[in-house]
């Protein structure tokens, strides 16, 4: 079976220690997590994990089963790239002098739809949200001039299909 990139979405209670429990499931099966983002979701007290892995479909199905076994997990799903809308964010810290000395940098920023977040006498910071390849592209272009710091977030994603978590919770409470 073919290895593919899957985005796993986990809706869970917002409880201390759950991140550890979820991460352990991947560790136990020797599966590397490519990116992981945890945040609050559209439902109060419910957290949303977005986990990106490269595995076979059979593997991802089994992982979903194990994640859903966790008492605090409400529901877990997996999606291919085609089934969801996703992006990540990145920050680039660059020497301020380059902004004035290398005019090409201004073009790069403009063409990449990146935003300048802050400018100080020593450095300026660019923020770029988008697909991984777009951020990689910007990185490669800026790297030529020198990047003081670079950081990239995990993937965030919403699915094209409905997930119906609120309905599920209502049903569970009745």
């Amino acid at each position: 079976m073919k290895v593919k990139k899957y985005t796993i979405s986990v809706y869970s209670e917002n409880n201390l220690g759950l991140l550890n429990k979820i991460a352990t499931i991947f560790l136990k099966r020797h599966i590397n997590i490519e990116s992981l983002t945890v945040s609050s979701s559209e439902i109060e007290h419910v957290s949303r994990f977005i986990i990106v892995v490269e595995v076979t479909e059979e593997q991802v199905k089994k992982i979903i089963g194990q994640i859903e076994k966790q008492v605090e997990v409400i529901k877990a799903y997996y999606h291919t790239n085609e089934e969801c809308i996703f992006l990540q964010s990145a920050l680039f810290k660059i020497k301020s002098s380059l902004l004035f000395e290398e005019r090409q940098i201004q073009n790069i920023i403009k063409n990449s739809n990146a935003q300048i977040v802050t400018v100080s006498p020593e450095f300026f910071v660019i923020e770029k949200s988008g697909r991984r390849e777009e951020i990689d592209g910007l990185y490669n272009e800026l790297a030529e001039y020198g990047i003081m710091q670079f950081v990239r977030s995990g993937r965030i994603s919403v699915t094209k299909d409905e997930m119906k978590i609120s309905e599920l919770l209502k049903k569970q409470l009745n």
């Binding site: 209670e13 089963g65 605090e72 997990v73």
Partner: protein, 577 residues
């Protein structure tokens, strides 16, 4: 004034009257109907122990000699009594000593609530004296765990712990309570947990799947059932018997499924797995429909997955959705509690007999009997065998005893030869294979079913792994019977060394102490048997004893357990020698 317990010395609690967190732990246990708890005290759990002293008439605490003994005793208690076993320990080493038993309970689906003390919350993460992060340590081996840092959390979390441990597919839960939470105060109000928002213990039964399964089963010419502990946990023994009798299907047990169907039932065709019976293993690869009921296709059952029942349609009755397609791809998965799903499928099942197919099992049993069993029970050599000991024990117990076995060759022999008339009669460490399990588990089993005879079958290796629990027997006078089958070897490893490592017995030969003297030192009546002529009489004497009894049977040093499926081989490649 609210009455909290129904005991003679009433525990009462008035609203607005505060009690300590430690007292709330004890009251919560009483609310859950707990009357027996196994444990070992220490600094971080002392406030709770102080409450045990106060409540000793309602809640009996059994002081084991090691925390591992406590958790295995709680497992034995839970397995025979259908109640939640409770074990308690202090922080740090006390907590980590519980971990093996917790892992054992997790893989064997045993309902446990383990309570550990923890350093004060202001010291958490500071590497304080006897601090370990037991929540992180126990995460992969618990069904649920939680650290309590405030006294007010205790009633709700305790109620949740019992509900989660017992519901759906049972398992162990660990509650870690900081010392300040034990000293803290709260207004105690207890409400049993009946629901946890995110947790669905039993998946919904799908009528369509029941119908699909019935069609496959009715069409089958060579159907075969493998059942597991799910039958016992789901209390579905009767429904299962009705189902197999109507459908006329030969049925084999996994190691943990043993005793869910009486051993002498005409459709009981033995045990599957690495040291199971010849016929059910061999015919797994000839059946046309394989029906798995409350079992999880453990690798010791399936052997090589690439060749396991490839010719068969697979129907899986299972409560845990994560087990479906985990190891073996199923054609129809019937999710739900087997008690309900088997009841639902029964009216759809056609009454049948599969005489020719059953005859195949019978023919293969004859082969196994002639080549293996006969030689083990009708022994011509001088040395005693493990099998003849089990046959002699069967004659004495008549299949009515609870047999608790440890891990190794004796475990397989005890499982192959024990006779069972009643459910919840076989207790062993199946999934984790924990040596040292049986002695404390037998103590717990006897306390969980005091009206039944409980016999522990243990090897000389496993006996010494928790031998200190003889002290628990001394103190509690629990009348458990212990048979140590002594071959002066770590027998199963030695067998593998003989078969697969050219006979290089690396560190498997044991120089043992005088077990009889040790047992007598603990005040337990003890006897050693080395001659065949003494065996039956010694077992008879042991079973007649009203007190605990230790019997050492000195058996052949290099006896092997057959049949055997070598690791990685197909179930149908099972070897008879």
């Amino acid at each position: 004034m609210d009455t909290i317990t129904k005991s003679s010395e009433k525990v009462t609690n008035k609203k607005n009257v505060k009690i300590t967190g430690a007292e709330a732990v004890v009251k919560s246990l009483l609310e859950e109907g707990v009357s027996l708890i196994y444990g070992y005290p220490g600094g971080a759990i002392m406030p709770v122990y102080d409450e045990f002293f106060k409540y000793e008439k309602q809640l009996h605490h059994v002081l084991t000699r090691h925390e591992q003994g406590a958790v295995h005793a709680a497992q034995g208690y839970a397995r025979v009594s259908d109640k939640v076993g409770v074990a308690i320990a202090t922080s740090g080493p006390g907590a980590t000593n519980l971990v093996t038993g917790i892992a054992d309970a997790q893989i064997d689906s045993t309902p446990l609530v383990c309570i550990t003390g923890q350093v004060g919350s202001h010291l958490l993460g500071s590497d304080a004296f006897q601090e370990t992060d037991i929540i992180s340590i126990s995460t992969p081996v618990t069904k649920w765990n939680y650290q309590i840092t405030k006294a007010e959390e205790i009633p709700e979390v305790m109620a949740k712990a019992f509900y989660i441990a017992k519901s759906g597919r049972p398992g162990p839960v660990l509650i870690d309570i900081t010392k300040d939470a034990q000293f803290g105060e709260l207004e105690f109000e207890y409400k049993k947990c009946e629901k946890v928002r995110s947790y669905k213990p039993v998946p919904e039964m799908e009528p369509g799947k029941i119908e699909e399964a019935a069609v496959l089963i009715n069409k089958a010419e060579r159907p075969f059932i493998v059942w597991g502990q799910g039958l016992t946990l789901g209390k579905a023994e009767k429904e299962f018997q009705d189902f197999i009798e109507k459908a006329g299907i030969p049925s084999a047990s996994t190691l943990l499924g043993l005793s869910a169907l009486p051993s002498d039932h005409e459709l009981h065709v033995g045990m599957v797995g690495m040291h199971g019976n010849y016929a059910p293993n061999k015919l797994t690869n000839e059946c046309d429909v394989l029906i798995a009921v409350g079992m999880r296709f453990d690798d010791r059952v399936t052997g090589n997955l690439a060749t396991y029942a490839k010719q068969a349609k697979i129907v899986h009755f299972e409560i845990d959705p994560a087990e479906v397609d985990k190891n073996v791809k199923t054609d129809v998965a019937v999710l739900g509690n087997v008690k309900e799903t088997l009841s639902a499928i029964l009216p759809l099942i056609e009454k049948k007999q599969h005489k020719e197919w059953m005859q195949k099992f019978s023919d293969l049993y004859d082969i196994e009997y002639n080549q293996v069993i006969d030689g083990q029970i009708n022994v011509s050599g001088d040395g005693l065998t493990m099998a003849e000991t089990m046959i002699a024990l069967n004659k004495e117990t008549k299949g009515d005893a609870v047999i608790v076995s440890d891990v190794g060759q004796h475990q397989m022999v005890a499982s192959r030869y024990s006779k069972f008339n009643h459910g919840r009669s076989k207790v062993t460490s199946g999934g984790l294979g924990t040596m040292g399990f049986a002695l404390p588990a037998a103590i717990g089993a006897k306390m969980g079913a005091p009206e039944r005879e409980v016999v522990a079958i243990i090897g000389d290796g496993g006996f010494q792994m928790n031998i200190q629990e003889l002290g628990t027997i001394l103190q509690t006078r629990v009348p458990v019977k212990i048979i140590v089958l002594n071959n002066q070897f770590l027998g199963m490893v030695r067998q593998w060394q003989e078969l697969f490592f050219d006979g290089r017995y690396a560190s498997t030969e044991m120089v043992n102490p005088d077990f009889v003297k040790i047992s007598e030192g603990y005040g337990i009546k003890a006897r050693r048997v080395t001659e065949r002529k003494e065996l039956a009489e010694a077992i008879s004497e042991m079973m007649a004893s009203k007190e605990s009894y230790f019997l050492e049977v000195v058996v052949e040093m290099e006896e092997n357990v057959f049949p055997m499926i070598p690791t990685g081989s197909s179930v149908s490649d099972i070897r008879l020698k």
